[in-house]
Amino acid sequence: MRNIQMQVNGKAVAREVPDQRLLVDFLRYDLGLTGTKEGCSVGVCGACTVLLDGQPVSSCIVLAVMAEGCEITTIEGLAEGDRLHPLQQAFIEYGGFQCGICTPGQIMASKALLDANPHPTREQIREWMMGNLCRCTGYYKIIESIQAAAEGKTGP
């Protein structure tokens, strides 16, 4: 067991966790932030993507203790009250999800993309999002959603 501290969605958290606890389980079950999903458990599907100091990581292959002192952003940290982040709004308006299980990971990965490159080309989006599997949409509408968010084409 080890004591860890970190910032999660702007709030300081401190917990005692077993050394082997994965970040995804820490977020989901110790903190109750079940918006982060677990799919493949081996770091290839991207469903568990969160931002660790602004960088996208697969939280299913990161130990909670490795996030000591870091700043974590999960899907729960994106909207401001009822006001959705433009990516969240775009994924709804442009059909960027169906079942929604991969969506928190897709949105976190695309947030990292737009933070690094606010105006990506379609090819850059495809390449960046390659690590986030989606079985429902066939990706076309995910790419459109990200483009729309980047171009400010969302909202009423």
């Binding site: 077993p18 082997q20 389980d25 989901r28 079950y29 109750g32 932030l33 079940t34 918006g35 982060t36 999903k37 677990e38 799919g39 493949c40 458990s41 081996v42 290839v44 599907c45 469903a47 999960t74 899907i75 729960e76 994106l78 909207a79 959705l84 969240q88 709004q89 994924f91 709804i92 308006e93 442009y94 059909g95 999800f97 169906q98 079942c99 929604g100 299980i101 991969c102 969506t103 928190p104 949105i107 989006i125 495809r126 390449e127 999002m129 390659m130 690590g131 986030n132 599997l133 989606c134 079985r135 429902c136 949409t137 066939g138 990706y139 076309y140 509408k141 995910i142 790419i143």
Partner: protein
């Protein structure tokens, strides 16, 4: 009918805000006070007798609350129709991954530690993995007394009983039409080809999960990743030996289904753990468990024999389908792989036909349903076969199809008399958009695939609609939205009928105690059936509002019309929506609730077609196939929601591309060797081609507002379209899937050696 407002709107999913913020609750997200974690120990052998199980060390581990084997459970088998799978293996295991022991503990780590302390002694038995070998008289038998199972595989449906002596035949079906001998006598050329389609996984990103809790009053609450909560409830009640009303299945978001989430999976076991431990229990499968012990698509061996005239008219067609169903047949809701049988003759005019379909037990992972069950397998075979015949006859593959596809007035091979047949139009639309026949660069080829499937019409759907004083319309449905957008589409049906904005409609999925019976998602039925039930409920509500308006206006209801949110009497007097609602509220007429149901009656008379043209480029040095472009043309009815409709087309298409080019659940000596998503290759954003969608619209569907089904269309033709395009590009014919660079390379070298 009112002014169209909602139908045809590209509305985003009504549950969107919950899904994009992480608030939507999936089965694995259920957290209950005092909840334990369940895990299972699975068989490492494909076929073995369980000699002994030592649980003593596992039971002593701190934090462990229950350790169960089959000896602790009632002697029941479960299944969607054929009930042949035990909740835990009893005496014998029949595939690698079969559940033998289960544990509930304080943490998932403790549950796993406990399983490591369990000792099981097995005595290995001879195993059989290939369905053709499994049908031989000397093959080891998987099930000694299948005739004792509920809905047993014997007697067979629809034909003779040649395979009776071989217990490994799980089901056999025969479809006959005309006189096959006569048909082949009339043929000037006869072609026979055999194709193999390996198993693939549904690939939903959410592994199966479930939770169970038993209340002080004995009520059993279940949460599970299941697309048909009412059917699941009844199956659970049977497994538990309790009345149906003792079990309540609670709605959860479903993280992808594609046909694979219709079974109980761990949920019956989860209840037995909750009962034994006295605590709520949750079980979440790992993705490795999904791939090795889920319910993937059936592998199929398809042999086709077709007689044709020299000018390319089909005179006879014979199909023999052998589906490998794995160790159990429990994961499909019918006796046979329906779509595969149906698609075995294609959308062609076939006067004389015979289809024989077998489903055979082997010591491999049990197979289940996946989007258009059976159809991708047989369509790959049929559409490749037709292409091969066309080329042998020297007829363009498009022209060959045009000479044989059904037109109005034809009887289909399966004996249907479809109305408004639009096969030709759909095929032509695809060919036109793909510039079929236009010049191509070297090593570029085009291939066609076509598929027919009717809108689903079975079971019963129900809907309950309430309007309240502030004009909100609450639709209570028992139908789970597996991600297809069914909540949204049902909401649009309500909005349309009540001439209300979609934002006034609230769609709630009730639990199985709250909502009325609903057969749920499956077989492309939901928009049709639940949509019709919803429309009936909405019409009842509008009639009730008209009756209230008539009361207010002092006239007979048949003298009032609802138009554009106003109630207009035949003498010209009118009442606006809000004044009626406030008046009705004052007179205690609100909230007002009406129900509707829709029961499948006569079969639908209109079907749907999907035609695709794939364009590939093959690297002649390496065999690498690049999918440059796909045209997908669809014969559709009224499109209720263009956004979700197109989402179904695109998502299905890429699943079909996966089956065509990258996916293969590899099974070696009974063990699935592609056991994680790094090895099992789902398509990524980099794998998708340029896409053109063509909708061939006609307002002829059986659904609400003349809609047709779209969910199980676009995923079916891609394997054939791609394989046919590869042949067109470089002259290499692949008889099995997926179309990999290695196979194309081998084909190119073999071709060189022949020359």
């Amino acid at each position: 009918m009112g002014i169209l407002r909602s139908i045809g709107q590209a509305a985003g999913h009504v549950e969107g805000p919950a899904k994009v913020t992480g608030r939507a609750r999936y089965s694995a997200d259920i957290l209950l006070p005092g909840m334990l974690w369940g895990k299972t120990l699975r068989s490492p052998f494909p076929h073995a007798r369980i000699v002994s199980i030592d649980l003593s060390a596992a039971r002593e581990l701190p934090g462990v609350h229950a350790v169960l084997t089959a000896a602790d459970l009632p002697e029941v088998r479960i299944g969607r129709f054929l009930r042949d799978i035990p909740v835990l293996a009893r005496d014998r295991v029949r595939f690698i991954g079969e559940k033998v022991v289960t544990v509930a503990a304080e943490t998932p780590e403790a549950a796993e530690d406990a399983l490591r302390l369990v000792e099981v002694e097995y005595e290995e038995l001879p195993a059989v993995f290939d369905p053709l070998e499994a049908m031989r008289a000397e093959a080891p038998r998987l099930h000694e007394h299948p005739e004792t199972y509920e809905h047993p595989p014997i007697p067979p449906i629809g034909g003779d009983s040649r395979f009776h002596p071989f217990a490994n035949v799980c089901s056999q079906n025969f479809f006959r039409r005309g006189d096959l001998k006569l048909g082949f006598t009339a043929a000037e050329r006869t072609f026979e080809h055999t194709f193999f389609v390996p198993p693939v996984h549904q690939g939903y990103i959410e592994p199966h999960a479930c939770a169970a809790a038993i209340g002080a009053d004995g009520k059993i609450d279940i949460w599970l990743s299941n697309k048909t909560p009412f059917i699941a409830r009844n199956q659970l009640a049977l497994a538990f030996g309790v009345a149906e009303d003792r079990v309540r299945v609670n709605p959860t978001a479903i993280g992808g289904d594609f046909g694979g989430k219709g079974s109980l999976m761990d949920s019956a076991l989860c209840y037995f753990l909750a009962r034994a431990s006295g605590r709520p229990v949750k079980m979440v499968m790992t993705y490795t468990e999904e791939l090795t012990a889920g319910n993937p698509r059936h592998a199929a061996l398809v042999t086709l024999r077709t007689g044709v005239t020299r000018d390319g008219r089909i005179t006879a067609h014979q199909a023999k389908l052998v589906f490998n169903c794995g160790a159990y047949g429990a994961f499909i809701p019918l006796h046979f792989v329906h779509g595969g049988v149906h698609a075995a003759s294609g959308p062609y005019r076939v006067p004389h036909m015979e289809i024989e379909a077998l489903r055979v037990y082997t010591n491999t992972v049990p197979r289940g349903h996946y989007r258009a069950p059976g159809a991708p397998q047989t369509t790959f075979a049929v559409e490749s076969h037709m292409d091969m015949i066309a080329r042998e006859l020297g007829i363009d593959p498009l022209e060959f199809r045009l000479r044989n596809v059904l037109i109005d007035g034809d009887e289909s091979p399966m004996g249907e008399r479809w109305q408004h047949v639009r096969c030709r139009e759909t095929l032509m639309a695809a060919a036109e958009a793909a510039a079929w026949g236009s010049p191509k660069p070297p090593n570029v080829g085009r291939g066609i695939g076509i598929y027919e499937r009717a809108t689903g019409a079975f079971g019963t759907s129900s809907a309950t609609l309430t309007i309240d004083a502030d004009s909100k319309l609450t639709l209570l449905t028992g139908a789970a939205d597996t991600g297809t957008g069914s909540y949204t589409v049902l909401g649009q049906v309500v909005a349309e009928e009540l001439q209300a904005p979609l934002s006034d409609v609230i769609v709630i999925q009730g639990d199985t105690d709250t909502a009325e019976w609903e057969d749920g998602a499956g077989g492309s039925r939901l928009t049709h059936m639940a949509g019709r039930a919803t429309l009936t409920a909405a019409r009842e509500v509008s009639s009730a509002l008209i009756a209230l308006a008539a009361r207010r206006l002092g006239c007979a209801p048949d003298q009032v019309q609802m138009r554009d949110r106003r109630f207009i009497a035949s003498d010209g007097r009118e009442l606006d929506w809000d004044s009626l609602l406030s008046w009705a509220a004052e007179h205690e007429a609100l909230p007002l609730t009406r129900s509707g149901s829709y029961v499948a009656g006569h079969p639908v008379e209109v079907t749907c077609y999907a035609a695709q043209v794939a364009e590939v480029e093959v690297d002649p040095e390496t065999g690498q196939v690049r999918l440059r472009r796909i045209v997908t043309a669809h014969d559709v009815g009224t499109v209720i929601n263009p956004l979700t409709h197109q989402g179904q087309i695109e998502g299905g298409l890429v699943q079909g591309i996966g089956q065509a080019m990258t996916e293969h659940l590899q099974v070696r000596d009974g063990a699935v060797t592609t056991a994680h998503l790094g090895d099992y290759k789902l398509p990524t954003a980099m794998d998708i081609p340029e896409l053109s969608t063509v909708l061939v619209e006609s307002k002829t569907g059986p659904g609400p507002f003349a809609g047709k089904a779209i969910g199980e269309m676009s995923n079916v033709p891609p394997p054939a379209a791609v394989a046919n395009a590869v042949f067109d590009a470089v002259g290499v014919r692949l008889m099995d899937l997926p179309v990999t660079a290695e196979k194309v390379y081998a084909g190119l070298r073999a071709k060189e050696n022949r020359q």
